[in-house]
């Protein structure tokens, strides 16, 4: 195995972008995190089914390569704004699953101290300014964060994740225009999973590809296969370079698919079972990346199993942490509405 992997490594020049750009252990860590996202969401779903978590949740199962690819070239203090389908973004940007579970369980140890839940999951310390319950709500906020970066000269790059449905909100158009005229270091990432709830992009959107809308705001519009980690990471890498160089924003359209329904109350009436099965069986982003890593000699079956085992333990420990954590006191109901002042 060692010999084979060395031979492959020598011929890395012919491999896709990420295999040239990143070290093997970094790529194995990406696989680890993609599994972590998948298992986190499966774990959250199971807890929900068992009545341990209330409310609703939007799972990004099937979209892991998009979250990981976009975040790959980001530095720890770069920032993101996320969406209602934001668990993957949160983990990709560095959050701990234990504190995410704690949030879902409504505990004080959660990232939002039990006030936000799934739809507002955030990790401000790691640069995640928050998921959002309002479609397109995070897009102008990302532009504002990029404006801060430029004014304070922090060098930070900001990524705004949003879905295909969000590109029909006024906020999207207003935000892209301002980012372009002020050449702000922001990257707009449209994770096009084909549907906004039940409405396909064909029914909701006048252009075939959302990336085409970049032309209206004089910025590059890039389409990537969102289920291929390397493609996503490469596009993100270029957009980050451009942003850091002060050349302004990029719109990346990452074409992907959500395996699960929109939320916990979706009967999937607007798409066929064949379509879902096809994406699951033939274009699963984790399977695709894992196979590539193995084929290129970056990991073997034992290594894959080790990752899966480690992830399973992290998930189990995270759920235990959440269960054991304290719930907020009712007396704290009105905390955090305003900034506490001495």
């Amino acid at each position: 195995m060692a010999g084979a992997s060395k031979a492959v490594a020598d011929s890395r020049a012919n491999l896709p972008f990420v295999y040239r750009q990143y070290r093997p252990e970094q790529l194995r860590h990406v696989l680890h995190k993609m599994y972590l996202i998948r298992r986190f969401e499966e774990g959250a779903e199971e807890c929900y089914m068992r009545g341990l978590i209330h409310g609703t949740m939007h799972l990004s199962i099937g979209q892991e390569a998009s979250a990981m690819g976009i975040c790959m070239p980001l530095a720890e203090d770069d920032q993101i704004t996320s969406t209602h389908r934001g668990h993957g973004h949160c983990i990709a940007k560095g959050a701990e699953v234990s504190r995410m579970f704690a949030e879902f369980f409504g505990k004080t140890t959660g990232y939002c101290k039990g006030r936000g839940g799934s739809m507002h999951i955030a990790d401000v310390a790691k640069g995640n300014l928050g998921a959002n319950g309002i479609v397109a709500g995070g897009i102008p906020i990302a532009v504002g964060a990029a404006l801060s970066s430029k004014m304070i000269k922090t060098g930070k790059v900001v990524v705004s994740f949003f879905g295909d449905g969000a590109n029909n909100e006024g906020a999207f158009h207003e935000a892209l225009n301002m980012a372009a005229i002020w050449k702000l270091p922001v990257i707009f990432v449209c994770e096009n999973n084909g549907y906004g709830m039940s409405t396909s992009t064909a029914r909701s959107t006048a252009v075939k590809n959302i990336a085409e809308r970049a032309a209206a705001y004089s910025m590059p519009g890039v389409i990537v296969n969102g289920n291929i980690f390397s493609e996503v990471a490469e596009a993100s890498f270029k957009a980050v370079e451009r942003a850091r160089a002060g050349e302004g924003p990029t719109l990346i359209e990452s074409k992907t698919y959500r395996h699960r329904g929109h939320s916990k109350s979706d009967r999937n009436r607007y798409r066929t079972k064949e379509e879902i099965d096809d994406w699951m069986a033939n274009r699963d982003p984790i399977t695709l990346f894992e196979t590539e890593l193995r084929d290129f000699g970056f990991i073997d079956d034992q290594g894959i199993q080790a990752i899966r085992d480690a992830v399973a333990k992290e998930i189990a420990d995270g759920i235990e942490f959440a269960k054991a954590s304290p719930a907020p006191e009712i007396a704290t109901l009105e905390n955090y509405v305003y900034t506490e002042q001495a």
Binding site: G114, R115, G170, T205, R269, I330, L333
Partner: protein, 332 residues
């Protein structure tokens, strides 16, 4: 069970009203996000798209400002749109068209046009959907002359008031509490209307008037039933419309009971309770008051995700019981 008493859920009652409205008037059509094949986020439109087609049950893109504006424009020019917001919280995205356009167009144009648009807003907390999907924003719109704002509290009224709204020549905003959608109750067949601007006395009593809105009507009735055993006799007024408000029913009730408790889910301050309290204080009923007016409303906070915090944010039956008992017994 009496076979003639037909029961429907609140959601079914609304759906039936929309179907009747479309049957009666070909100008009526529905617009909203995922109201077609999905059936609406709360299954209120259900299978209407199968019965009326995609020309009359229109899925919009996720574009609240534009969608509400399109409904206003269609209403001004001869159609009768019923526009569904997926959650009332998203009214915030459409405020421009609702407040600056729909509410004022007739006035600004000197009465040359009418805006017969109906907008439906699933509202309220209790579903674990957190701060941006749980608000009660009816008082925002209640503050705007030109709009009519209603909050039906029963399946019967949900149907009858929607049919009244469709027939109304002016913009009518309907706030539907999400937890009421599954509530069952008697709903007559066929067309009928329940007037906008008229409160309803749900329970007669001598000792205290509770003026409640939406889901708080049932909670007030539960509290009243619980206090019956203690010899406390409560009158429950279901306000039903917050603009235009039915002053007389409230005033007459307070003159009879001499005590007033306002119960509503929205944030307590600057809300409907302030308006009801003030209208009583400004009226001849003031002289009849035997105790200070009390308001029970939502806490001064966005709705939290944690379920226990969420419950603590809005008045619950035990809170109403305690407040009503204290008021009647003179504990203040």
């Amino acid at each position: 069970m009496d076979a003639v008493v037909r029961e429907l859920s609140y959601a079914q009652a609304i759906q039936e009203a929309m179907a009747i409205a479309m049957d009666m008037d070909e100008r009526v059509f529905l617009m909203g996000e995922d109201i077609g094949v999905y059936g609406g986020a709360f299954q209120v439109t259900g299978d209407l798209v199968e019965r009326y087609g995609t020309d009359r049950v229109i899925d919009t893109p996720i574009s609240e400002l534009g969608g509400a504006g399109v409904a206003v424009g269609a209403a001004v020019t001869g159609m009768r749109p019923i526009f569904e917001f997926q959650f009332s919280d998203f009214a915030a995205l459409a405020m421009e068209q609702i407040v600056n356009q729909a509410a004022k167009m007739r006035f600004m144009l000197g009465g040359e046009v009418s805006v017969p648009v109906v907008m439906r807003f699933p509202a309220g907390s209790g579903t674990g959907a957190a701060a941006q999907h749980s608000q009660s924003l009816e008082a925002w719109l209640g503050h705007v002359p030109g709009l009519k704002v209603i909050q039906p509290a029963t399946p019967h009224d949900a149907k009858g008031m929607l049919l009244a709204a469709v027939a109304d020549p002016d913009p009518v905003m309907i706030f539907e509490h999400k937890l009421l959608y599954k509530m069952k109750g008697h709903v007559p067949e066929g067309h009928y209307t329940v007037p906008i601007g008229k409160a309803e006395i749900r329970r007669e009593g001598r000792d205290l008037t509770i003026v409640a809105t939406s889901i708080m009507v049932q909670k007030a009735l539960d509290a009243a039933a619980a206090l019956e055993g203690e010899g406390i006799d409560i009158e429950v007024v279901d306000l039903r419309t917050i603009r235009p408000i039915d002053r007389q029913t409230v005033i007459d009730s307070v003159k009879k009971t001499s005590r007033l408790l306002c119960v509503y889910e929205a944030v307590k301050t600057l809300g409907i309770g302030a308006e009801v309290s003030a209208l009583v204080a400004e009226s001849e009923a003031f002289d009849y008051l035997d105790a200070p007016i009390v308001r029970l409303g939502g806490a001064e906070t966005p709705i939290p995700y944690n379920p226990d915090l969420e419950k603590a944010t809005v008045p619950q039956v035990p809170d109403i019981i305690a407040a009503a008992r204290d008021l009647v017994k003179g504990v203040r």
